[in-house]
Symmetry: C2
Subunit: 237 residues, 2 copies
């Protein structure tokens, strides 16, 4: 049983309704970076971990591959996705393209209670930034994505929401691979500024802030090809 095994086990109830449980568990593990890009996820191992047959494990991995979080190679197995620099650029290009539109939709139909909910999320987020420890770090990662997802949910379009879920999750992978600073939320409270702009009905400004926010995250990346991921390049400096 490899390192992936220890990283996964979260609760002890193995199979409740089906393969979705497993899919969600693995997805969380990937997004929270308990599973590193490139980690092998063999069907047998996954099945044993959750005490289900390979059939269900396979279904879960299959599902994750549709979301771009896992790449399955024919006759070789499934691996936590290892997005190329080009893929990373495409992910952020997609976010720059989509998120302003979502923001506009969301702003148009947002209620005061939803604004309050957003502020709640922001508070939680900054609280986590203050704390230290692995679990706090993981929660922070998730929280920073949850803000964008909350906006998508407010927009009321389930399809766009699903697209955003995929993009945010894959972004987490990209940051894990190419991120330089400890975490993207550097200094400024950009999420907070966006909420303020929404509240002030300054839509154009909110969109600007959003685009720049995404650009900032991307600017923190070092998008250079890492060939063997620690092969020879790791030693000859």
């Amino acid at each position: 049983m490899n390192s992936a095994a220890t990283a996964l086990q979260t609760t002890d109830e193995p199979s409740e309704t089906g393969a979705q449980q497993i899919r969600d568990a693995i997805r969380d593990a990937i997004v929270e970076r308990r599973l590193s890009p490139g980690t092998k996820l063999s069907e047998s191992d996954v099945g044993n971990l959750f005490n289900v047959s390979r059939t269900l494990a396979r279904a879960a991995l299959q599902a994750l591959s549709y979301e771009g979080l896992v790449s399955v190679e024919k006759n070789r197995g499934a691996f936590v996705a290892y997005p190329s620099p080009d893929e990373a650029r495409q992910i952020f290009a997609a976010r720059r393209l989509i998120e302003p539109g979502i923001l506009r939709e969301a702003a148009a139909r947002i209620t005061t209670s939803e604004i309050q909910h957003l502020r709640q999320l922001l508070l939680e987020e900054s609280r986590l930034i203050g704390e230290r420890g692995q679990t706090a770090r993981r929660a922070e990662i998730k929280a920073s994505g949850d803000f964008h997802l909350a906006l998508a949910e407010i927009s009321g379009n389930a399809i766009m929401q699903r697209f955003m879920e995929e993009l945010v999750a894959r972004s987490s992978l990209v940051i894990a691979l190419y991120g330089q600073s400890t975490i993207s939320s550097c200094g400024h409270n950009e999420h907070g500024d966006i909420v303020s702009a929404i509240e002030a009905k300054k839509l154009d400004r909110a969109c600007d802030l959003m685009v720049h926010h995404i650009a900032h995250i991307e600017a923190d990346l070092d998008l250079r090809e890492r060939k063997g991921q620690g092969l020879k390049e790791a030693f000859d400096l």
Copy 2:
């Protein structure tokens, strides 16, 4: 063997590489409207049709459910998706949100040969409009979507391309359900106008045309709840 069976069989080579073959075949059948929304796709039937086991049939149906073309209900089976009016609105809202951005990306990096390719598609499309017969009609449906997909491909963003593939396919389902006129391509050659605008480097105009084009398609729909799909409402007029 029900009506779904006759609608599916397209080639006689049953299983070549795996479940993807089946998924693609069924997807084509749905998009080309050989399969009507609501049609039951039982795992055994699909498997028998393609001479594979239920395992592969199930995988294919599962995949299609991720694309929103098939809805699987626990312990009840898989059905060709029957999008609700609200879902339909969300699909077109998503397209209005996404396609202008794709158009801008595409216009920025389009080459002369790609423009030629687009014009080729347009020619093919108008040729099909002229012809008559079921097969021509089906080809026309596919062609009208292919224009939007070609644009997405030119944009160079594989992720957005995949999103568009899903949206176009689901649009086909919506039109099959709620469309009023024989087909959306009414009179005007809106696709052609968009290409011309791109060629003339009039980006804003091209985006405007695109948004209106999508609005026109949506305007041709009669988005009213058909509850039982022909239940009581079908009789008391």
